[in-house]
Symmetry: C2
Subunit: 768 residues, 2 copies
Amino acid sequence: MGETLLPAIGVEILIPACAVVAIAFSLVQWHLVSRVKLSPHGLDSAATDGGAGKNGHAEYLIEEEEGLTDHNVVLKCADIQSAIAEGATSFLFTEYKYVGIFMVAFAVLTFLFLGSVEGFSTSSQTCTYDPTKLCKPALATAIFSTISFLLGAFTSVASGFLGMKIATYANARTTLEARKGVGKAFITAFRSGAVMGFLLAANGLLVLYIAINLFKLYYGDDWEGLFESITGYGLGGSSMALFGRVGGGIYTKAADVGADLVGKVERNIPEDDPRNPAVIADNVGDNVGDIAGMGSDLFGSYAESSCAALVVASISSFGINHDFTAMLYPLIVSSVGILVCLITTLFATDFFEIKDVKEIEPALKRQLIISTMLMTVGVALVSWIALPPSFTIFNFGSQKVVKNWQLSLCVAVGLWAGLIIGFVTEYYTSNAYSPVQDVADSCRTGAATNVIFGLALGYKSVIIPIFAIAVCIYVSFSFAAMYGIAMAALGMLSTIATGLAIDAYGPISDNAGGIAEMAGMNHRIRERTDALDAAGNTTAAIGKGFAIGSAALVSLALFGAFVSRAGISTVDVLSPKVIIGLLVGAMLPYWFSAMTMKSVGSAALKMVEEVRRQFNSIPGLMEGTAKPDYATCVKISTDASIKEMIPPGALVMLTPLIVGILFGVETLSGVLAGSLVSGVQIAISASNTGGAWDNAKKYIEAGASEHARTLGPKGSDPHKAAVIGDTIGDPLKDTSGPSLNILIKLMAVESLVFAPFFATHGGLLFKI
Amino acid sequence: MGETLLPAIGVEILIPACAVVAIAFSLVQWHLVSRVKLSPHGLDSAATDGGAGKNGHAEYLIEEEEGLTDHNVVLKCADIQSAIAEGATSFLFTEYKYVGIFMVAFAVLTFLFLGSVEGFSTSSQTCTYDPTKLCKPALATAIFSTISFLLGAFTSVASGFLGMKIATYANARTTLEARKGVGKAFITAFRSGAVMGFLLAANGLLVLYIAINLFKLYYGDDWEGLFESITGYGLGGSSMALFGRVGGGIYTKAADVGADLVGKVERNIPEDDPRNPAVIADNVGDNVGDIAGMGSDLFGSYAESSCAALVVASISSFGINHDFTAMLYPLIVSSVGILVCLITTLFATDFFEIKDVKEIEPALKRQLIISTMLMTVGVALVSWIALPPSFTIFNFGSQKVVKNWQLSLCVAVGLWAGLIIGFVTEYYTSNAYSPVQDVADSCRTGAATNVIFGLALGYKSVIIPIFAIAVCIYVSFSFAAMYGIAMAALGMLSTIATGLAIDAYGPISDNAGGIAEMAGMNHRIRERTDALDAAGNTTAAIGKGFAIGSAALVSLALFGAFVSRAGISTVDVLSPKVIIGLLVGAMLPYWFSAMTMKSVGSAALKMVEEVRRQFNSIPGLMEGTAKPDYATCVKISTDASIKEMIPPGALVMLTPLIVGILFGVETLSGVLAGSLVSGVQIAISASNTGGAWDNAKKYIEAGASEHARTLGPKGSDPHKAAVIGDTIGDPLKDTSGPSLNILIKLMAVESLVFAPFFATHGGLLFKI
């Protein structure tokens, strides 16, 4: 089997060091963003700083500077920013309050269920996988699972909240920088995204690392028990993410759809016009949904794939031989990933300069390519020093011999599958290519053909990502069974810091555009922020592609771990218990989507009524002489999302419990597999359809080609048809679609955590 | 084990007798329809006949008779009818010509592949399931499979073609009868539907029965080989149905969408206005898509479930003991089903009378309930006389003991699951209930919310049908393994004659309305046909629900038979070969839908251009003084559908071959299971979403309630939004949705037919 080159003490230094470096790096980025002053008297110095700061951006100012001396605009921006930040903070606190109650209740349930496995006995028991040894009691697993569940939930909250804070800190600053040119605005938005990306990656890693070391003080050599209880971390992170994604998704899209339906369609006023009462709610929504929700989501994926890998490793030769370095291989990969992303970020902020709007999208794409290539080298290196040349991996009852280069390939195949998914997503959602242009063209004959073509595009965009995931699964499973799949997922997520940076960049630019419009700034500023935003739409779709691809791998790995833990060796489709599980599981994403889409629809209808009421009852609103009542719209979105996130959340959280308790682990396996294979498809197609509609609309609005100009301008019939498509796509791409990857992951990790309970007490109905 | 009460000679009399009775019954119905004369001089006698005919309908004429003496109208109707009939016949001949070439090629392929299993050896071989016996050579199976394949294809063609003939014979007659009242029109349309239903059910049964008896002359006691080659019948039927559904679906929706987009949306002329150049193509489409396509589809389901049941029975105690009565139990159930449907039909045509438009939908629903209740008794009776009290069923390698009452329950659970699916579908697609009314209400805020609510409705409508199918699978599998599931499917299809009658009634009424409009008849006539058509929309959705539910069961049964035949005993989700199959299989319905939706969209765009061209270039067209060029529009639909049906058809036909040959039977099992669990959901949601949009539009147009009137009238903004939804729903409900059930069935039956080949020569890639 052999030794690892890297000693255990090296691991104990490497992981926290990488995390600390990442945190320091993100604080530096934050500091750089903070140098853009949001008060009039600081303005001149900011301009000077920007012009001749240490990063040498003096040559940036190739575009005309706009309104740099208008102090009034700065004040307005600061005002709007604080309104958005306030709304977002207040919503998140309300959300966390309600979800907090749920989390505590679920923590109690977790403790009771897991504690009851051995009747709350405090005496040691024989281990599950190695019956010759004694392991810590089930009660300990119950306690530590509960603790790690709460830790995961808390880290998820922190990730989302910090992301929202930096985003609402950066949006107005991006707007102000846009006066100096598109390059400066890009840097500000991207740096802010990087703050979120690195903070999240570092926190996720650090908390997990500390938890493992603390739990080890109690568990000692019982790594089976130790890593079984660590899986609570993934469950906590994902549960929080579910509510964050669903609640935030309903919030943002209710406001967005409501604002657009009255403002753009009925009143013919521009997007983000300050006269629209729902405009603040819309901008708040970007921060709580697309930033906080997405941050929690990706943190959840990261936590879950780490936990899945660890729990499988603990019953493989790493765990049996107590090889700490190899055991923490998943965390080492993530640590190296952070360093790789750090270097990659410099390519966007320091090594290259954006001088023209056309360079934005390539610059963001370059981030993906650079990080993937560097990481490929990193993975090879890490696998060489942190893994023994040969080892065994638990494979449903037997041990499979694996070489270190094979495991390295598993990580790499995940990494590259992520890149392929990213590029395919870009092809189907960017308006630089024919699919979106065809959708835009179909707007000639109205909204109906636009929707038909858009749906067809989304369906078609599923094909290559599914093949990529399938190849990834086949290769990594063949080499290293379920551990290989977990590591492929971690490989896809190893560049999460960069992924999040370019993902968060989108909503920040979106907000920046909103602030420019509301502050009544020059249309050239708005054009610059629009260009940033259009690239952001594509990167957001790419981010969703990553999230879904990794979710598919993660949940498969968790599924494998669950099956092992539940003590079943085959999940036979030919058994009626499994096939009905498959069928019902494949239905769950539809049920879930029905709930979330209807919620957005109903909340949007309420919003529309309120906005119409204000336009009709507040004199002078359309003329711009009276201010709308933003607060009521914020309240409508808040109330709707808090109320409406409960049923879909309950569906996801309760299904594994009900199925496991009533029908047992076999049917539950079917449900997990069914929801996985069906959910992935709907999630990908919904995200891409929505992204394509959004960019088809932007294509017509921008009018950058001969073809686009024949469809435009804004207000033409094809443009109106495009707006309808965009509105339909909103809940698809930002509410139901991205929530589905949490659905498949969460059900899997929850099943894994409760596997000991189901194996002991489950399947009541079939026992009668 | 025991004997059956019914001797073999009884079976030999019962089955053909029932088929002949059904054919006679449908000829009588046809004769009754033909008494409505389509020539002016026959008019008076027809009116007299109708008024005091032998059925005693004199009291029917509670509504005012309209224009009975206007000979001109009759001539116009006859003209339009012959144009529609001509278009439909010409399209079907073109379609059959192209598909015929494909069928012959595929027949050759079938022969070569199956013949090569034993290297075209003519010597007998040991049987697959009972190695102590000698069976006929693989070459014989190849020959007879090819023959039954062609027989199935031919019967499918005949079913579709005859249906189209009666439908295009009845449509104008329904219009003319509508002048005398809604009751007379209903009877005419329903009788014509019954002609199709009974002809199809009887043909399907009779051809299968004769084929078995003829094949038996060669096979003798080798029932394993006999029924293995009979499965080609299902494959032939379903292959033909695939092209019929897809080709017909593209034809009808290209014409429908194209006609609506220009006529209703741009030119503000009513639906089916004779000035619209696409109007004939639209009406032809109803007959080739909704009639011929659907007929082939349901015939395919019927043939496949019979074959699945027979092939499993042949290796169970029925086949081993050569118990001919029990062996033909599936055909006996279908025979009794025909008798039950015959009685049920009389309730609609003779025992009750329709006096008001409100009675139409309940009358059709009553058909479902009566047939289900009568059939429940029939099943119990048949199971008692045609089955031994106890027998064994092959269950993946072992034999499972089953009692006759248990098998009877399997059939009954399928029958009732069908009824539940029917009622749920009705609830979600009829505008008498809140779901459709909510969708209509969401049109207040425009097309976007309409689409969001409609999609959510479709997703939600999946829940109960999936649970019904799951319960059905669990019960029937527990009682009688895969044979139970095949019999549950046949149970659901046992009332196929009634199902088809009420299903075909819809497009006939739709055509009748179109003819009324084109002939310039009084608006009251159009109101009557509209009422018939609205009920037809709901029953069409119910019919699709049945088709999908039975397809799910059928393909599961075929899947089980395939797995047995391919010699694998478990399909383990935890094997990478299976899980990648599952994932890719679940993706296929999306790929397929992307193709068909895009085809409809592109063909509709071409149609729009042609219609616009005619409106712009033919002087006097809008004023009604010049006639449009209908033939060009018919040609556009024909060309588009013939060309566009190839790629989706190839996808479905080639996937099992490619996967089986390259990846082997395990991956193919995964693909079949994946496409089954994912396809069912999309098919149900697509059909119901489309049906709901259609009826939401009709709800606003009819303005039958206070609420509906606040949304209307025709031409209001909410109505325009509803029209957009209706147009989007067209390809969903009539092209991609219903084709998906053929996709899942066909891949399963094809895998079963080629199972011996895959088991011998398959999985090349993994052998390297």
